[in-house]
Symmetry: D2
Subunit: 342 residues, 4 copies
Amino acid sequence: MIKVGIVGGTGYTGVELLRLLAQHPQVELRCITSRGEAGVAVADMFHSLRKRLSLSFVDPRSAPLDECDLVFFATPNGIAMSQTQALLDAGVRVIDLAADFRIKDIAEWEKWYGMKHAAPALVAEAVYGLPEVNREKIRQARLIANPGCYPTSVQLGFLPLVEAGLIETDHLIADVKSGVSGAGRKAELSSLFCEAGDNFKAYGVPGHRHQPEIRQGLSLVAGKPVGLTFVPHLTPMIRGIHATLYARIAREADFQAVYESRYQSEPFVDVLPFASHPDTRSVRSANLCRIAVHRPHGGDTLVILSVIDNLVKGAAGQAVQNMNIMFGFEECAGLTQIPVLP
Amino acid sequence: MIKVGIVGGTGYTGVELLRLLAQHPQVELRCITSRGEAGVAVADMFHSLRKRLSLSFVDPRSAPLDECDLVFFATPNGIAMSQTQALLDAGVRVIDLAADFRIKDIAEWEKWYGMKHAAPALVAEAVYGLPEVNREKIRQARLIANPGCYPTSVQLGFLPLVEAGLIETDHLIADVKSGVSGAGRKAELSSLFCEAGDNFKAYGVPGHRHQPEIRQGLSLVAGKPVGLTFVPHLTPMIRGIHATLYARIAREADFQAVYESRYQSEPFVDVLPFASHPDTRSVRSANLCRIAVHRPHGGDTLVILSVIDNLVKGAAGQAVQNMNIMFGFEECAGLTQIPVLP
Amino acid sequence: MIKVGIVGGTGYTGVELLRLLAQHPQVELRCITSRGEAGVAVADMFHSLRKRLSLSFVDPRSAPLDECDLVFFATPNGIAMSQTQALLDAGVRVIDLAADFRIKDIAEWEKWYGMKHAAPALVAEAVYGLPEVNREKIRQARLIANPGCYPTSVQLGFLPLVEAGLIETDHLIADVKSGVSGAGRKAELSSLFCEAGDNFKAYGVPGHRHQPEIRQGLSLVAGKPVGLTFVPHLTPMIRGIHATLYARIAREADFQAVYESRYQSEPFVDVLPFASHPDTRSVRSANLCRIAVHRPHGGDTLVILSVIDNLVKGAAGQAVQNMNIMFGFEECAGLTQIPVLP
Amino acid sequence: MIKVGIVGGTGYTGVELLRLLAQHPQVELRCITSRGEAGVAVADMFHSLRKRLSLSFVDPRSAPLDECDLVFFATPNGIAMSQTQALLDAGVRVIDLAADFRIKDIAEWEKWYGMKHAAPALVAEAVYGLPEVNREKIRQARLIANPGCYPTSVQLGFLPLVEAGLIETDHLIADVKSGVSGAGRKAELSSLFCEAGDNFKAYGVPGHRHQPEIRQGLSLVAGKPVGLTFVPHLTPMIRGIHATLYARIAREADFQAVYESRYQSEPFVDVLPFASHPDTRSVRSANLCRIAVHRPHGGDTLVILSVIDNLVKGAAGQAVQNMNIMFGFEECAGLTQIPVLP
């Protein structure tokens, strides 16, 4: 049983983290902070948690975060970087669900996130929390940079091919579609039901923050810089990411076997039979990535389909998975819910 | 640990039952039948169950149903009534999620369901599986008629007022809105995305099968026949029922206190603070009914709002709750999932 | 050909008004004002208007509104009441799509709208723009209070019964469901796709501003105060209102014939065959109200179903209809679009 | 004024064609056939057409099709090919909205459509009805093969680049997302609200009928066979297609200028400013294709975004546009509706 605190937690990532942690057998939720909602019972804001969570939001200044074993940051970008060092000094481990520690190149980070980084040294220390790549490092880590939702779906999709050197990596294409919850629980015009509903659009095509994060991850695996065209889209559903990935074959192989072998012992990656079509609802509310491999018309282009729930394997679920690894719990503890379908 | 069989199970009620039972600590799923899908792995039809359920559908004729302790019927109406007696004779208990045993008046049933009833004697024996009313009878029952989705939301909403004799019961009004999954997983034009989406309509206003079921339940409680105008509507969401109930006050009382007191020990009914507005997503995927009491402008009309997930408290979840009661399990066993929001 | 100005116009009512007016054969759009968007081309904000509308938003202070024959206010409540007198003095006629002039009882208005009324005299002069009731007065009016969306659907639904004295009017019930565009194009949490989507809820049950507006209209017709329980709901669709109305019969009649006769010469009210179920999409994007009459089980309660597109017959379309009447155009001019289905 | 008949017409393409033709100033709708619905008033099936269309469906055998100037086939594939010759012989011109005459290579067609072609000679004669490519041929044609919805969006998107020889055409990628109405008004499980709603998936990745159609069109323009990876997806909205197109640059140019120049006199293609993000709703219910050109990070890959309403520019609207050209009407006649937004 560990003591856990949450900083932030009024957003969708926060309420999802609460849902998972409230059902986790080895977690005692100690506190959750919110500047704006201090004093409000969490269950009054999120009725789904009525009778299941008795915590109220507390002001960050009075929260006993340093008494926790672990603190999750479910905050906007730029918060965790200024508070993490003090927690680490107090012996508290940290998982940041925002982007503060994801990109190793500080200049690159500052360009995309539009602010000066407050803790470059911690960026160097932070472990990128993609268990399928970094499980051993996560086990030892004090500080985890929890991956972004798009980067999780795209990296898990490309990983086996890049690791095995089977594709040309200078012109990868990731055409990715996200549900609207990826935009967060913020009062913004573009996330309104009447703007995002019955509508489909791309956004951020000239440049999106997740592009350098994906490139960094795949380049590390490839052992050289990869080229990536990344196009995110908004699709009128609440949860779910569907990545459609394109790559030209560099070397022949039994591609399906490559995927099955790479992920055979991964508890949260499911490789479907060759030429399947995973739908996002098949992972809804669960910590899962389902992947299918295609080679249309037997040509020289592979198409990989990769689906996750952006709030679970793309955020809160992966954070809990990282916690489980860090604290030596069973990796699946608290993460065994079956997807909700329909 | 009990052995459980399912007859039917390719519909939404079926897959939801599978989701709940696959996670239930005291259930061993023995078999699931389907005439049309015999031989197909359940997880190939419902990808959400991949790696969680290894059963395949079997032909009803070769299914070892009589070796089970309990059989659920998740079939169209008219199937359970012809197969239940044999199972009971073999010592198997039965929960029917369809309507075969819900209405005691055989003539009334035959009128609404358009067929001759095959087992009137069993109708007399069957216990109506609304635990909040019949918990003790359920404990002893061999055969449960699991309530309909609309009837669950409406009866739980009106119950405290009718029991206490606080309202005029000759002109009850139930204006109820259902998600599309209530229509089942059937290839019908009216359930198409492009017919039911971005659209709202009433249906069955001249007469709907759930009206006599609700009337029967409330009349029993009232001790006299009640009058009920019941208008169901289709709303463009997948899961959820929202009942808006209207009744004129017959006798003054602290209505909020009446509800809180009536349901204080019920694990799956949650009375919100006075004048709240429950939303259907606050119970999505969970076995819960949330209720709010209103008295607009302090007038002589009460408005009760009652929400459930039609597939859970309105079908599969309530069936599992009934199972738990019948077999002496903890009533909440396998039913503790927190609603998925957003 | 008349010269028309619009004050406001960055909301959903505004863009709908633009869509209709840009296609109207007798309207020359002169200017559209917006404090926040001055200088922005309207078609850059609403791509649907690209190549169809070359106007840019102008600052209200520099807009040549007094050169117009007619000015529409598509503003938040409280704007029109302070600007209308000057326009009228300049010989400009005014249609207010907000609520400033809808309620004759100033104290009642101030209670519901939470501000002091700036122009009580104009309230007295304003004609309530429901053509099916006030066509002749509209023809002569300088100032029109365009009805609310809920009030349009509910009044048109009850009107024939109340006028003919066929129902008990002390306990009318209006259970009404609205698409999310009724909440406007405002960055509010409750209107987010992930809050309003796949969800259903009532709101404002203790009291809603449209209740007194409806009561005023029906009381005028009834010749005495009516009693009304009004419960609005939010349904996950973009456009559309579905009113389900309940009334007890006071006097027998051929109710279907009453409706058909009442609306036979109304161009924008369509009475369906007895016991039909109109769906909201059957009026989507069109200036239409479709109504169906039900008498469930031949009892003493009538159920009336009434559907409109909240942005058209519930707002912009009705405003154009009022304009047509005021200026002696054909009442259907610019309003003949066939509903978009699916 | 021409006399027009429709064969089929109970599907979404059919009702959309009826919506457009019923408002067309030069069309007299003479008859509409349906084997299954003969005798039913069209407006009873589609309430949106009440009071706007008085036709009833007639049996195909008794329909006066040969008295028409033009017959539209809005039928499943395989119908038009067996009835067209007789109509042509009777002097009737034909526009087929299905696929019977789209692919010139008969063997290829038979492979994808799974049947023997009944009229190969007519395939040779038929003009592919993409006005932006074949306007002059359409003017002279007796028989038009109206393009598929995906092919329209993809061809219009790639066309300027392929014509000008600016991209490598051996590895084109078209990642395309369609609303559910593209699947037609058929009672199929996969099109149910609860299957397609709140879900996203690819389909037909191993091979889709529209791939050879697109390849044929682009190859003709390129003057050599092009290579194309085509991945269609189903997105939870009713109308709309969003094509995201990827191509590597072969030769530098001012790509934005190339698009603007190519489409400057096209009434139904709108090139947005460089690096824009068109959303599908900006063309909802209108005969429009909006296109945006991107060059992410100034690299060697172009990303073209192309949106249409699949039922209008992707089907019925384009058919009417073809009709206008064939009969010398103004090309925009009956097609000037402004998109419905929101």
